[in-house]
């Protein structure tokens, strides 16, 4: 843009420190600087759930990379050079880098006197939210179990690493703030920016640029506050783009620790389960409270267990913030839960497939949150996965996993269908494109709902001035929500067109040529004549969980998937080779076949990365592997030939953006364990596999299983 400046952010080198002084006197006059004084008239803190993050540091920095100041200059190079001329005096403070440690009395306190909204439970030191669930007798239920086992699991943080970094352009024009930004959450961003800048929401316009990948990284507020504040001071458009190194200290996947206790009867029936979880949300909570809740119940698993206790804590530490990440807490929760299921299978001498089938939820069963399950396909997914690796035959080195994952609930999606002067039906939706090409599904859905060819449907720009409210493009909710909202909008459009014709909607005939009335050929009109007619549809999913009891509606709609894997572990080096991999996901009604395949293939590959390679290594709060050579994502050579099944059926279209991500590492982990290396932590690096106590006493291959009666099919 004309007159545009380039921003760079000055970041703290310390994990925890007082900011004693900031001196920008050395910065050239034509470079705009931003420090705490420049944002003193704004709300002091922002955040999508807990308002705990300043635009730039006030009197403290809380993680390595925390924004202390920012500059905007004519070129990125000049901005970079200007950063070096800012002098900051710090007074280092002790830091804490482990979520369990952070809850101890001696741990440094990150946010003193923070205001936490009523829906969260800040119960404990550095705990911004604590999700609890109790069903049945809770922990007293263990008394009724023949066998009780307990184990701990640890999952490392991970970096999204979208190919395109975060990028935002902000400019103020005629009293309005315009944000051209890569974001999955345009309406959250608009709302939160309005609150931060103390201006009405309508003064802010968010235009969503198609993103070169996001996977959860480009959610809520990232570069928008700083660029908007700089643009305000500079009275010029300001653009910020993060470097790859900055991507690793901006927002990551939550490191997590679990302690799980599982009680079962000798015949394999699950009796009781308790899940203790600690989610390291880093210096700022971001959406940590929600991650903590979802991960808490994902770790219960898709099982019928009468007595469940969950105590899941979202904890502040002096690491970079953690937030939404593809798989959304299910990757961590499912790992812990499914490894535990196999440990119980081992303990009882029951086949891991049989044990799962015996306990899987069925239609009509209640989940531990109290909600009744419907449209249940867990067993189908699991059987499909097991068959794909010939589970019944030679089963050494094979592993299974099955999961339930919730979808953002409650949520709301609005869609409009508007006829334009050219005779096209323009679909207006805030669903953002991060590679999943939602416009293909949208056009197919609208075409189907209206009885027209998809060629007649176009998708309008993603601009909050033009599109109806949508909660956000996350948690694989969009296809499901959109399909319902589009149906409602199509219904409304028909109704409005019928009104124009002064007939009942049933008498309307719509085809690619235009609109007509049954029995009255002379009343036909091309679509162009109906320009301006607009149908609107909204789909709302109510719900939510009581944070103290965990009861309520966790998810209007459950993601259901299973995976199976076969591995070959080099016992002398710990290197794992995946020889077979299969995922079975309940897709429902597929509306974009190629897209569905791409999403599932992509999720599977993401899962392989989480399983074997990906883990951010922190040392004293510093990221030590913050580049794509030290932190590796899967290459084409790392991906074996794999298979999958998209289970169809039912009337709904289910989201596929994340389904395979959590079950793939769990299945691989169970396979590695079956090969003799009982791993507990992710990622399963060669070294950690080698370190998992090998059981030389057990013969290679599966231990002998006591036969159980097969699960009676439903």
């Amino acid at each position: 843009m004309e007159g545009m400046l380039h921003a760079r952010i000055l970041r703290s080198p310390h994990a925890h420190a007082k900011v004693v002084s900031i001196n920008t006197a050395g910065v050239p006059r034509d470079v705009v600087t931003l420090t705490r004084d420049d944002v003193a008239d704004l709300e002091p803190l922002y955040g999508p759930m807990v308002k705990d993050q300043p635009v730039v540091a006030g009197d403290r920095v809380l993680h390595v990379g925390d924004a202390v100041a920012a500059v905007a200059a004519r070129t990125p190079r000049e901005a970079e050079e200007a950063l070096e001329l800012i002098e900051v005096e710090y007074e280092e403070l002790p830091g804490v880098f482990d979520p369990v440690e952070a809850t101890s009395d001696s741990a440094p306190l990150l946010h003193e006197g923070l205001e936490i909204p009523a829906e969260y439970r800040p119960d404990g030191r550095n705990v911004c939210h604590r999700f609890r669930l109790k069903s049945g007798l809770g922990k007293d239920g263990f008394a009724g179990a023949d066998v009780v086992i307990e184990e701990s699991f640890e999952i490392a943080g991970a970096a999204h690493n979208p190919m395109e970094p975060h990028a935002t352009l902000a400019y103020w024009e005629e009293g309005r703030l315009h944000l051209i930004t890569g974001t999955q959450t345009p309406f959250n961003t608009r709302r939160d920016m309005a609150a931060l800048f103390r201006i009405p929401e309508e003064t802010i316009r968010v235009v969503v640029a198609p993103m070169g990948g996001s996977f959860g990284a480009k959610t809520f507020m990232r570069l928008e506050p700083i660029t908007a504040a700089l643009a305000r001071k500079a009275r010029r458009p300001v653009r910020a783009v993060l470097t790859r190194g900055e991507e690793f200290i901006t927002v990551n996947r939550h490191p997590a620790q679990f302690r799980i206790r599982l009680g079962a009867n000798r015949d394999g029936t699950f009796v009781a389960k308790s899940v203790d979880a600690w989610w390291d949300t880093g210096a700022y909570a971001d959406c940590g409270p929600s991650v903590c809740t979802k991960g808490g119940y994902a770790a219960i698993g898709p099982y019928r267990i009468p007595n469940v206790t969950v105590d899941s804590r979202c904890v502040y530490t002096n690491l970079p913030p953690a937030g939404a990440f593809r798989g959304y807490a299910a990757t961590q929760g499912v790992w812990a839960s499914e490894r535990m299921t196999d440990l119980m299978a081992d303990r009882l001498g029951i086949d891991p497939l049989e044990l799962r089938l015996k306990n899987l939820l069925r239609d009509g069963d209640r989940f531990a949150t109290g909600e009744v399950m419907h449209d249940v396909r867990f067993a189908d997914c699991l059987r499909n996965a097991a068959e794909a690796v010939e589970w019944g035959a030679e089963s050494r080195n094979k592993g299974l996993a099955v999961m339930l994952k919730g979808m953002q609930t409650p949520s709301r999606t609005g869609v409009a269908l508007e006829i334009d002067a050219g005779g096209h039906v323009v679909l207006r939706s805030a669903t953002t494109d991060m590679g999943q090409r939602p416009e293909i599904a949208q056009r197919n859905l609208a075409a189907h709902a209206l009885g027209l060819s998809p060629d007649l449907i176009t998708v309008g720009p993603n601009d909050t001035d033009l599109v109806p409210f949508d909660t956000r493009t996350t948690s694989s909710r969009s296809t499901f929500m959109m399909s319902n909202a589009i149906r409602a909008a199509a219904h409304d459009l028909r109704r409005k067109i019928a009104e124009r014709f002064e007939v009942a909607p049933e008498d309307l005939v719509m085809s690619d040529e235009g609109v007509g009335v049954t029995g009255s050929p002379d009343l036909s009109r091309p679509f162009a004549d109906l320009a301006g007619v607009r149908g609107e549809g909204t789909f709302v999913t109510p719900g939510g969980l009581d944070p103290d009891t965990g009861q309520g509606i966790a998810s209007s709609h459950w993601h259901q998937a299973a995976a199976s894997a076969e591995v070959s572990v080099d016992a002398e080096t710990g290197v794992t080779t995946i020889t077979r991999l299969h995922t079975a996901v309940y897709a429902g009604n597929v509306v974009d076949q190629a897209g569905a395949e791409l999403q599932n293939e992509g999720s599977t590959i993401f899962g392989i990365g989480s399983a074997l390679y990906e883990g951010i290594v922190f040392e004293g709060g510093q990221v030590t592997n913050g580049n794509l050579s030290d932190y590796e994502i899967p290459s084409m050579l790392d991906v074996p030939d794999f298979t999958y099944e998209l289970l169809e059926g039912g009337e709904h279209s289910h989201g596929l953006g994340e389904m395979a991500v959590p079950v793939v590492p769990a299945a691989i982990g169970n396979a590695v364990a079956a090969a003799g290396f009982p791993v507990r932590n992710l990622p399963m690096s060669a070294e950690s596999v080698l370190g998992a106590p090998h059981h030389p006493a057990s013969p290679p291959g599966r231990r002998k299983r006591r036969p159980t009666s097969p699960q009676v099919g439903r």
Binding site: E81, T573, L612, Y613, N625, S629, D630, L637, A686, L690
Partner: protein, 282 residues
């Protein structure tokens, strides 16, 4: 800030004269993969660049009594050279072929990889095992140094301020040469451990000589002739291979990085050395 001077000398003499004159302020750019990373990420801010692409006489590949590789020969040229692949130095081509990706190999040079002396590299390990030498030129003359002595530590070589590496010379190798690149993570990874073996077996399969070099585990490639001595004069066997592996595991100093801890490296060195030697028992 002022942009660095860009020099594109046409001869070795010009290049070394420039080096001598500009001293520490100048950065030599060969293929540019390493300097590219340093400059683009703001890690160095030289006053001048000395670009070697136009320097005459540095891109030759000659296969004769010895293998001579010009310093500016790219990894890719070594990898694809028919002359090298059909010669006793075939393993050298295979080793260079294992480095990074085709893009990097199209750019990175034989001289560059040695002058960078990055510990997590493949070619230096094999070149040490083959007794390769580097030819260094300066305004005052010329000298040859064994690669084993040229690489002193990670990012540290014996190159003097006024010298340019112009050629790598590899003597005729013995019949049994292997290079094993062990990756602990992605198939795109740098080596966690590299093991080069150069063995001369007589007609009865007995070892006349044996060199085993371990690289990527510490600042420079390491070799323990005493440990290999146990094999000389006899046929290789699994027991001998295991014993040499065990000794290398004990003797090699190792470091920790993202690819593995020092103790992991020590542990797998025993396995990888053994696996590299076992085929000689056949």
């Amino acid at each position: 800030m002022e942009e660095p001077e860009w020099h594109s000398p046409a001869t070795v003499e010009e290049a070394t004269a420039l080096k001598a004159r500009l001293g520490d302020g100048a950065t030599v750019v060969a293929g540019g993969t390493f300097t590219g990373i340093l400059v683009a990420n703001g890690l160095i801010r030289p006053q001048a660049f000395i670009h070697l692409a136009r320097v005459a006489g540095l891109i030759g590949i000659a296969v004769g009594d010895e293998l001579r590789l010009g310093a500016m020969v790219t990894h890719r040229k070594v990898e694809m050279s028919r002359d090298i692949r059909e010669s006793p130095w075939a393993r050298v081509a295979e080793c260079f072929a294992q480095v990074a990706s085709p893009r990097i190999r199209n750019q990175a040079t034989v001289g560059g990889v040695l002058c960078d002396a990055d510990y997590a590299s493949d070619p230096p390990t094999l070149l040490v095992a083959l007794g390769a030498r580097v030819r260094l030129k300066s305004p005052s003359g010329e000298r040859e140094v064994l690669v084993a002595d040229f690489i002193k530590d990670h990012y540290e070589t014996a190159l003097r301020a006024d010298e340019l590496l112009v050629e790598v010379v590899v003597p005729k190798p013995p019949r049994q040469v292997t290079y094993l690149k062990f990756r602990s993570r992605s198939s795109e990874d740098r080596p966690c451990v590299g093991v080069a073996v150069a063995a001369d077996l007589d007609d009865g399969g007995r070892c006349r000589s044996l060199r085993v070099v371990v690289g990527a585990v510490s600042g420079r490639p390491q070799e323990f002739p005493d440990a290999c001595a146990v094999a000389v004069g006899q046929r290789m066997s699994v027991d001998v291979a295991t014993e040499i592996g065990r000794r290398y595991s004990e003797l090699a100093s190792t470091l920790s990085d993202v690819r593995g801890s020092a103790s992991y490296r020590s542990r797998v060195i025993a396995v990888l050395v053994r696996r590299s030697l076992e085929p000689l028992a056949a």
